[in-house]
Amino acid sequence: MANKILVFIEQRNGKIKKASLEALKAASELSTKNSFSVEAVTVGNEIEGLAELGGYGAQKITHFKNASLENYSTSAYTESVSNFVKEIDAEIIFFANTTLGKDLAPHIAVKIDAGIAADVTALDFRNNEIIATRPVYAGKALIDVKITSAKKVFTLRPNLFNCGVSNGNAVEVNIVNVENPNLSVKVIEVKKSDGKLDVAEADIIVSGGRGMKGPEHFHLVEELADALGAATGASRAVVDAGWRSHSEQVGQTGKTVSPNLYIALGISGAIQHVAGMRSSKYIVAVNKDKDAPIFQIADYGIVGDIFEIVPAMISEIKK
């Protein structure tokens, strides 16, 4: 019997997360190298677009359904997914390394006695083994790991695996109604932070540092971000100073991000900040200090006054 890769598909408000499509596509690419079959599993209530997961490589889709599973529950999701992994005898399980995936994957790993490699940024198949690359020390080093247990769990960092476009295939969705889910850990409310884009999910991030000279000047960071459809980020220095909230902090004690474009405004480029954003595809730095270390990793830099350059950037983009 061919081995199976099972991909956990994450939904929020009934919508499938892009990071899960990326994980599915990565599984589908891996499957071509060793004739794995690829299945998808999801947990939730009403979920849009499940049949279309076929277009990203899912050969079967199973949906564990119950109205109380619309929001995440560590206990209930663990129960449904781990039982399903055992039932279909999947060898490899992929998750997106989101806050939900990071929470759920280790619970599943224990249930099925699997080794787990988290926050994987690249996958390779060599000598009949999966080799996963993952950053350690906030990306100051990379390790290649292999999992030696029979069952293997991987969580894949969002934004690094290309989900591409659907090939148009659709597959039937097998709905399993969950009776009496184990809600010993239960989300009773989801508080949204006023519709703002999160740095962990954004394609473009505009970040401000101490060079912004005070919280009253961050409207410039926000206006540039608005003009680009970007999320706003911040350095540790300005979060510690209380100018910005920790949810915006990029770096080793904040979030590690890999957007297509990272714009650093008044950020010197301390080692712990760079660790959190160096895997960005393009980096722009604006800083008045020409010796700021951020320029050593920036693709494009302007050495000058933020208060002159940022307004000019906003109006140039809006042209």
């Binding site: 989101t98 806050t99 224990v110 906030a138 290649d144 292999k146 004690t253 660790a275 302007i302």
Partner: protein, 263 residues
């Protein structure tokens, strides 16, 4: 399946045991280079500190004890050097400390199994972790321990309240927070923002020096994850400096549109 809480309710009268797991990691400002084995880092000339997220875990354990009583215990897995982080926990006010002495390289699951064994033998009903150890950055050990012990768990907590055996916590998610309800026994992993860790007092530091740190030998457990190699990430080349004032902006925007194609 409903969990049985009677045991924990009984204990609450006499105060429960609150554990906090502490790891000893390179300072976030440290430069990291690859060691001669090409699998681990060169530990020479690296300053080690208590894992930054564990300070929030220690603080929450102390605050919880102040509220509901009980006893706090710090546990660390590693070599003698880890005692430094345990002493910091003691200096902040943790009652007791245990070093699970083992210098072998362990993967997350093997680390979790050793910690879970100790938590079980100590009968700790509430366990705090930092949400992530800033060395291997897996962000999973707390959740692994919870599942091994059959405890409830809330990861990436930015708010925590306990009332009797009931827990209400908030966890940070992309673009917001989840309000979570659960109950003891539980594992909570702490995110920055949960609290403001206190500084150790001079008295606390003096007392911590004198306290005995219990040493135990954890069972050897086979790793499931093997490091094949470690390398430095490809170094990024410094790019173009486009100018020193607003006149460079049109060229910057053109490059982002036409060369990088990211806007």
């Amino acid at each position: 399946m409903p969990k049985k809480h009677t045991k924990y309710l009984e204990k609450l009268g006499g105060g429960m045991k609150i554990a906090v797991c502490v790891s000893h990691v390179p300072d976030t400002a440290a430069k990291i280079s690859v060691g001669s084995d090409a699998k681990t880092i060169d530990k020479n000339s690296v300053t080690y500190v208590v894992n930054p997220y564990d300070e929030f875990a220690i603080e929450e354990a102390l605050k919880t004890k102040e509220k509901v009583g009980g006893e706090t215990l710090a546990i660390s897995l590693g070599g003698d050097a880890n005692k430094e982080s345990l002493r910091k926990a003691l200096a902040m006010g943790i009652d007791n400390a245990v070093l699970l002495k083992d210098e072998s390289e362990r993967d997350s699951l093997s680390t979790a199994k050793a910690l879970a064994e100790e938590i079980k033998s100590q009968e700790a009903e509430l366990v705090f972790f930092g949400k992530q150890s800033v060395d291997y950055d897996n962000s999973i050990v707390g959740q692994l321990v919870a599942e091994i012990l059959g405890y409830n768990s809330v990861s990436v907590a930015v708010a925590f309240e306990i009332s009797g055996t009931n827990i209400k916590a908030e966890r940070e998610i992309e673009g917001g927070k989840e309000v979570v309800e659960t109950s003891l026994p539980a594992v909570i992993t702490a995110q920055k923002g949960l609290n403001e860790p206190r500084y150790p007092s001079l008295k606390g530091m003096m007392a911590a020096k004198k306290k005995e740190i219990a040493e135990k030998q954890p069972a050897a457990i086979q790793n499931f994850v093997e490091v094949v190699s470690m390398k430095k990430p490809a170094s990024k080349q410094a790019g173009k400096i486009l100018g020193s004032d607003a006149s460079a902006v049109p060229e910057l925007i053109r490059l982002l549109k036409e060369e990088a194609k990211v806007i």
